[in-house]
Amino acid sequence: MELRLSSVVKRFGGLVAVNNVSFEVRSNEVLGLIGPNGSGKTTLINCISGFYHPDSGKILYGGKDITGLKPYEICRLGIVRTFQIVEVFPKLSVLENVMVGVAFSNPTINLNEAKQESRKILEYVNFPREEDVLAKYLNLGQMKVLSFARALVGHPKLLLLDETVAGLTPGEQTRIVSLIEKVSKELGITILLVEHAIRFVMEVCNRIVVLQEGRKIAEGLPEEISKDEKVMEAYLGKEQLY
């Protein structure tokens, strides 16, 4: 199912954070949303996931108008987002972290079944540590994998990933890259990726949309974007994007 944004506008007082942005995310593709700080990427994600209500414009998912729905309603439609600041349950174990998601998205499931389901998810993402480690002892990269695993609970169809690789080492980034590719190919999940790390985006995305100061300034394949002059200007000081 595709996600289509039409002329979305979001203002905060006098500041226009998102200014008439339109694009679509095709079914099963991985779309990257990039731009300098303050270009409106996270605001746009918040609009799509229901945390903000756009001032004008429409957001359609599979043809259905989802503009202005509440976050938990959007969640029920199969759209899941992750957050820049990772929210895990620090004093619960890795397994229990996922179990919370499983046990409470499905009210009839009992704890043992939730445990099995959680184990399957952790195995699927190849979680690098034992399942009974407390989440507060994980490093940032592992926490991000954990929150990715939690996002997969409930079998979402569209994933909104907000700055997933911020703060990760190249090795950890590679792991996330392979996770995203795996999830996209094997589970057919559509992914909209908000990012700063351009190399990561070039590697993983099928197409890229570039924002600057709330406006869309470019859209296209990675190779096209990397040669686009407007984009290079926006990222001042970068002579090359690689």
Partner: protein, 321 residues
């Protein structure tokens, strides 16, 4: 190699000590030869369990019930009045006291557990005081400050409740407190409800994002702790056999809180050794008369500074039970 891991049942220091404590409790009737000592044991076990139950709210959900003693007192008066005025068997009174306290917990919980932190503490504090004064100003029913005389448990089987050593009472409190403790531990760590509690404690927004309704689980937790307080209060009524409104006063809640904190928040079981410790120390210092409270206060402060995790963390390094 010390593995940092979550709850499991295995051979650890903590489990060994717990087993020893259980064994000690079972052996007590054969050791105790003095009604003064048996009173200490009974009171310690009672308040230890009360503190553990208090901790079920504080440690698992951060709900500080500052009127906790009043719920206990409510259970006590309920069972007492039921026995005196309606001839209800004290054994049934245990359940009745728990039920009444639990119902009050439900009513107030639904209304006020949307609040957080200090506001819950304030509200429950006022509620406790209101209950205490309510009992004081209705002497027609409760005999207020004149004191209400309560019948003892009816003798059953080999248990003789007129025995001055009060060993039968000790048996009853042991039979009550150990299952209550294990029940709370089970609910808190092995049920879906307990998972919700711990998730809410960790990060409420994340828990909500997973579909957990905070109010529902806060109320469930609160009702459980109030029910337990009521039941234990009923026991206390038929044990001490004289009730006054001062049973419900805030300072009693603070004693319970001190035991819970000394035992280690979130540990539940730590409250039992903590209760024995505090009550023994207080009794031991009795020759110092009023000064003993100063010593007690200093000891408490020192422990909170140097061992903030309480007794439970001294014995085990595990974060969770």
């Amino acid at each position: 190699m010390k593995k940092i891991s979550a709850a499991r049942i295995e051979l650890t220091w903590k489990n060994v000590i717990m087993l020893l404590c259980v064994a000690l409790i079972i052996a007590t009737p054969f050791i105790v030869r003095d009604s003064y000592v048996s009173h200490i044991f009974i009171t310690a076990l009672l308040y230890g369990t009360l503190a553990a139950s208090f901790d079920f709210g504080v440690g698992y959900l951060g709900i500080v019930n500052f009127g906790y003693a009043a719920f206990m007192g409510l259970g006590a008066y309920t069972s007492a009045i039921a026995a005196i005025s309606f001839g209800i068997n004290p054994w049934l009174g245990l359940l009745l006291g728990g039920a009444v306290a639990g119902l009050l917990g439900l009513a107030t919980g639904v209304l006020t557990l949307r609040l957080y932190g200090i506001f819950v503490a304030c509200f429950t504090w006022f509620l406790g005081m209101a209950l205490m004064f309510l009992i004081a100003v209705t002497p027609e029913i409760t005999r207020g400050y004149l004191g209400l005389s309560v019948p003892h448990f009816p003798n059953v089987w080999i248990l003789d409740f007129t025995d001055p050593l009060r060993l039968s009472y000790f048996a009853i409190i042991a039979i009550l407190s150990l299952p209550i403790l294990f029940l709370m531990l089970y609910l808190g760590n092995r049920t879906r409800m307990g998972l919700a509690f711990r998730a809410l404690r960790g990060s409420e927004p994340a828990a909500m994002a997973c579909g957990i309704n905070p109010l529902k689980y806060r109320v469930m937790n609160f009702v459980i702790t109030c029910f337990i307080a009521g039941t234990l209060g009923s026991f206390y009524a038929h044990y001490i056999r004289i009730l006054t409104p001062s049973l419900l006063q805030t300072s009693k809640t603070i004693e319970i809180l001190a035991i819970a904190y000394l035992g280690g928040r979130r540990s539940l079981w730590g409250s039992i050794p903590a209760a024995f410790l505090i009550i023994s120390v207080l009794e031991f210092l009795r020759p110092l008369e009023a000064y003993r409270f100063i010593i007690y206060g200093i000891i408490l402060i020192l422990i909170m500074i140097f061992y903030p995790g309480g007794l439970a963390r001294l014995i085990t390094r595990k974060e969770l039970f």
